[in-house]
C-alpha cells in the first residue's frame, strides 16, 4: 500500500516535472525560466526522497539533499545573479514561435513515449512512466536550446536536460554509486560555473548574449 502510494507520488511528481518543462517553453522571461528550473529541481529532490523512502537506500537521501541544495538553490541563485549582472531580462523573438514550440514539445513527448515503449514492458513499475518522462524532459531541454537565442536560456536548457537525466537515473537505477553521483553533481556545478564565466566573457566581447550573432566561424 505504501509502495503504491510512493509510486503514485513519484508518477505525479514526474508528470509535474514534465509540465514545468512544457510551461517553460511558453515563457520568455528569464527570471521565470530560472525559477521554473528551481521548482523542477525541487520536485526532483522530492522524488528522490520518496524513492529513498520506497527503496530504503540511504544514499539516495544524500542525493536528494544535494539536488535540493545544488540545483534547487545554488545554481538558480547563481543564474539570477548572472541575469542581473548581464541584464538579460527576457528572450525576445525565439527562433521558433511559442505556439510552434509547444506543438513540437508535445511531439517530442510522444516520441519519448514511443521510444521507451519497448523498454517499459521489461522494466519495473517505478520506471515505466519516469523513463519516458525523463526522456521527454531531456528532449524538451534540448529543443529549448535549439529554439532560443540567449546564452542564458541555453544554459537553463542544458540544466533541464540534466534534470531529465537525473529523473532517469533515480527512476531506473534507484541511484548510481554515490561516488558517481557526487562526481556528476560536481561536474554539473562546474559546468554551470564555467558556462557562466564564458557567458560573462561573451557579453564582454560581443556586447550581447544572443548566440545567433556568434556566426563568425562557419564553413
Amino acid at each position: 500500500m505504501a509502495d503504491l502510494l510512493s509510486i503514485d507520488t513519484i508518477n505525479f511528481l514526474a508528470a509535474a516535472i514534465l509540465l514545468v518543462s512544457l510551461l517553460v517553453m511558453a515563457s520568455t522571461r528569464m527570471g521565470q525560466l530560472v525559477r521554473s528550473f528551481a521548482f523542477q529541481s525541487m520536485m526532483l529532490a522530492a522524488i528522490s526522497v520518496v524513492l529513498a523512502h520506497y527503496t530504503g537506500s540511504e544514499h539516495i537521501y544524500i542525493v536528494a539533499a544535494l539536488t535540493l541544495v545544488v540545483k534547487g538553490v545554488i545554481i538558480p541563485r547563481f543564474l539570477m545573479y548572472s541575469i542581473d549582472r548581464l541584464k538579460v531580462r527576457r528572450e525576445i523573438e525565439p527562433l521558433v514561435g511559442i505556439p510552434a514550440s509547444l506543438l513540437i514539445s508535445g511531439g517530442l513527448v510522444i516520441v519519448a513515449y514511443y521510444v521507451t515503449e519497448p523498454l517499459i514492458s521489461s522494466a519495473e513499475a517505478v520506471t515505466r512512466n519516469c523513463l519516458a518522462i525523463s526522456l521527454a524532459v531531456v528532449f524538451i531541454g534540448m529543443f529549448m536550446m535549439i529554439s532560443r537565442r540567449k546564452a542564458m536560456t541555453q544554459m537553463v536548457g542544458l540544466l533541464m536536460m540534466e534534470n531529465g537525466l537525473f529523473l532517469g537515473i533515480i527512476s531506473t537505477t534507484y541511484g548510481m554509486p554515490l561516488i558517481v553521483e557526487i562526481g556528476i553533481f560536481f561536474d554539473v556545478f562546474m559546468a554551470v560555473l564555467i558556462m557562466g564565466i564564458f557567458a560573462y566573457r561573451i557579453n564582454q566581447t560581443f556586447e550581447t548574449l544572443d548566440t545567433t550573432f556568434m556566426r563568425r566561424l562557419r564553413g
Partner: protein, 485 residues
C-alpha cells in the same frame, strides 16, 4: 600504483601553477610530461601483456593501454612543442606570464582528465572524466580571448555538454539493462563486471543505450553530423592544444564508444557494428566535402580529424580481424600524424600570421625544414604509403573485402581518393609558390622541429615495419573485440 600515474600530471599542474618564472614553468611542464610517459609505459606493458589489471576502481586492459600510450606520448610532445610556441606568443604580446601559467596548469589538468578516462573501471567515473576534459579544455580553446575564440569555446562547451548528457543517459540505460543479470542491488557500473555478463544484458535496453552513447560520445569523438563544434574549437585553440584535441581527446571519446561497443556487440550482435559503420562512412563523406573546400588551415586539419575518426569507426564497424586491426592501428597512426600536421601548421601560422591557406605560399623557401616535414605529414595524413596511416587504411579496406562488404570498400576508397586529392592540393599549394613580400626566410625556433622530426620518423617507421612487440600488443587489443588477428 595507478594513482601514481594520475598524480604525475596533477603535481605537474600544481608546480606549473606555483612557478614564478617562465623558465621554471617550461622545465616543470616538459619534465612532468616526460615523467608521466616514463611512468605510464610500464603500466601499458602490463596492460598489453600481463592481462587486465583490475583493482576495483582502476581497470587496465590492452585497450586502455593503447589509448594511454597515445595520451602520454602526445602530451609529452605537445608540452615540448609548446615551449617555443608560447615563447613566440610572448614575444608577439599575445600572452603574458599569467596566461602562460594558466595554459600549463590547464594543459596538465587536461592530460590528467584524459588519463582518467582510460584507467577507470566504472563507466560512470569515465563519464565524469570525459565531462572533465570538456570543462578543462574549454578554457584552453578560449585561450586567446578573441571573439572567435569565445564563440568556439561556447559552442564547444554547449554542444559537448549536451552530447555528454545524452551519453550519461545511455550509460544509465546500460546499467538498467544489467539489472536482470546482476540483480537489483548490484550497484555497479564497472565495465569489467558488465563485460562478464555482457551476453545476458537486456537487448532492447542495450540498443537504445548504445544509440545514446554513440550520439553522445560520438559528438565528442567528432563523428558527423555531430562534429560541428570540432572545426571551430580546433581552429581557435592554440595550435599545440589543437593537436591535443585532435589526436587525443577525440580518441578518448572514441574509447568510451568502443568500451560500450564491446559490450553491445556481445549483447546484440551486429547492431553496434552497423551503426559504427554508418557513422564512419557518413563522417568520411561529410569530411570529404569540407576538406575539398576549406580555406582555413586549421579547420582543414580539423576536418581531416573527422575523416580519420570516421575511418576508425568504420574499421570497428566492419569488424573481423583485419578491419579491427586496421582501426586499432589507425588510432595510433592518426594521432601521431595529426600531431605532426598541427605542429607544422603552428609553425606556419605563427610565421605567416594567417590561417588562410591561399595567403600561405612558398613555404619551401621560407621554412624548408617545416615544409619538408609538412610534405611528409601531408602525404602521410592523406594515406600515402610508406606511412603509418596507409597501413591502417589498407587493413580497413582488406577487412571490408574479407567481409564481403564490397560496396563499403568501394565507397571508402572513392572517398579517401578524393580526400587525398584535396589534401595534397592544399598542402603542396602552401609549400610551393612565391612567398609574400617582406617575409624573412628562416624557421621560428629550432626546438619545435624536434618533436616534429620524432613524429615523422615514427610514422615512417611504423609504415614500414611492425616490430613483434607492437604486433602482439595490437593483437591483444584486437582480441578484446572478439576477433583474433
Amino acid at each position: 600504483m595507478v594513482e601514481l600515474l594520475l598524480l604525475v600530471p596533477l603535481v605537474t599542474a600544481l608546480l606549473c601553477g606555483l612557478s614564478r618564472s617562465e623558465r621554471a614553468i617550461y622545465i616543470f611542464s616538459v619534465a612532468g610530461s616526460l615523467v608521466a610517459a616514463l611512468v605510464a609505459f610500464p603500466y601499458c606493458y602490463q596492460a598489453f601483456f600481463e592481462g587486465p589489471v583490475d583493482t576495483g576502481l582502476w581497470y587496465l586492459d590492452p585497450l586502455s593501454g593503447l589509448f594511454m600510450v597515445v595520451i602520454v606520448t602526445i602530451t609529452a610532445l605537445v608540452s615540448l612543442y609548446s615551449v617555443q610556441y608560447l615563447e613566440h606568443d610572448r614575444k608577439e604580446g599575445e600572452a603574458n606570464l599569467k596566461d602562460l601559467r594558466y595554459y600549463h596548469v590547464l594543459l596538465h589538468l587536461f592530460a590528467f582528465s584524459m588519463l582518467m578516462v582510460v584507467v577507470v573501471d566504472s563507466l560512470g567515473l569515465m563519464w565524469i572524466a570525459v565531462e572533465g576534459t570538456t570543462l578543462v579544455s574549454a578554457f584552453l580553446v578560449g585561450f586567446y580571448k578573441k571573439s572567435e575564440a569565445m564563440e568556439a569555446s561556447w559552442k564547444y562547451l554547449i554542444i559537448c555538454s549536451v552530447g555528454i548528457t545524452l551519453a550519461l543517459l545511455g550509460i544509465i540505460l546500460l546499467y538498467a539493462s544489467s539489472v536482470s543479470a546482476l540483480g537489483e542491488n548490484a550497484d555497479t557500473l564497472d565495465w569489467s563486471v558488465l563485460r562478464s555478463v555482457a551476453a545476458q544484458l537486456d537487448p532492447a535496453l542495450v540498443k537504445v543505450s548504445f544509440i545514446f552513447i554513440l550520439v553522445g560520445l560520438g559528438t565528442k569523438a567528432g563523428l558527423a553530423p555531430m562534429h560541428t563544434w570540432l572545426p571551430d574549437a580546433h581552429s581557435q585553440a592554440p595550435t599545440p592544444i589543437s593537436a591535443l584535441l585532435s589526436a587525443v581527446l577525440l580518441n578518448c571519446a572514441m574509447y568510451g564508444v568502443l568500451r560500450v561497443h564491446i559490450l553491445a556487440s556481445e549483447a546484440v550482435p551486429g547492431f553496434s557494428s552497423s551503426l559504427l559503420l554508418f557513422f564512419g562512412l557518413l563522417s568520411l563523406a561529410i569530411a570529404t566535402a569540407f576538406i575539398l573546400t576549406s580555406r582555413d588551415l586549421k579547420r582543414f586539419l580539423a576536418f581531416s580529424s573527422v575523416e580519420h575518426m570516421g575511418i576508425i569507426a568504420l574499421g570497428f564497424g566492419i569488424g573481423g580481424p583485419l578491419a579491427v586491426f586496421g582501426a586499432v592501428f589507425h588510432v595510433l597512426a592518426h594521432s601521431l600524424t595529426k600531431t605532426l600536421m598541427f605542429f607544422g601548421a603552428g609553425n606556419v601560422i605563427q610565421k605567416y600570421r594567417t590561417r588562410e591557406m591561399k595567403e600561405i605560399k612558398g613555404l619551401g623557401k621560407t621554412m624548408p625544414a617545416t615544409a619538408a616535414l609538412l610534405v611528409l605529414g601531408g602525404a602521410a595524413i592523406a594515406g600515402s604509403p610508406p606511412f603509418a596511416i596507409f597501413i591502417g587504411e589498407l587493413f580497413v579496406i582488406s577487412g571490408a573485402l574479407a567481409q564481403g562488404d564490397y560496396l563499403v570498400a568501394g565507397l571508402f576508397i572513392a572517398l579517401i581518393v578524393m580526400i587525398f586529392a584535396g589534401m595534397t592540393y592544399r598542402v603542396f599549394g602552401m609549400v610551393s609558390g612565391r612567398p609574400q613580400e617582406g617575409l624573412p626566410d628562416g624557421e621560428i625556433g629550432k626546438l619545435r622541429l624536434l618533436p616534429m622530426l620524432v613524429l615523422a620518423t615514427v610514422i615512417l617507421l611504423l609504415g614500414l615495419f611492425l616490430p613483434e612487440v607492437m604486433s602482439d600488443a595490437l593483437g591483444a587489443v584486437v582480441e578484446l573485440f572478439g576477433v583474433s588477428a
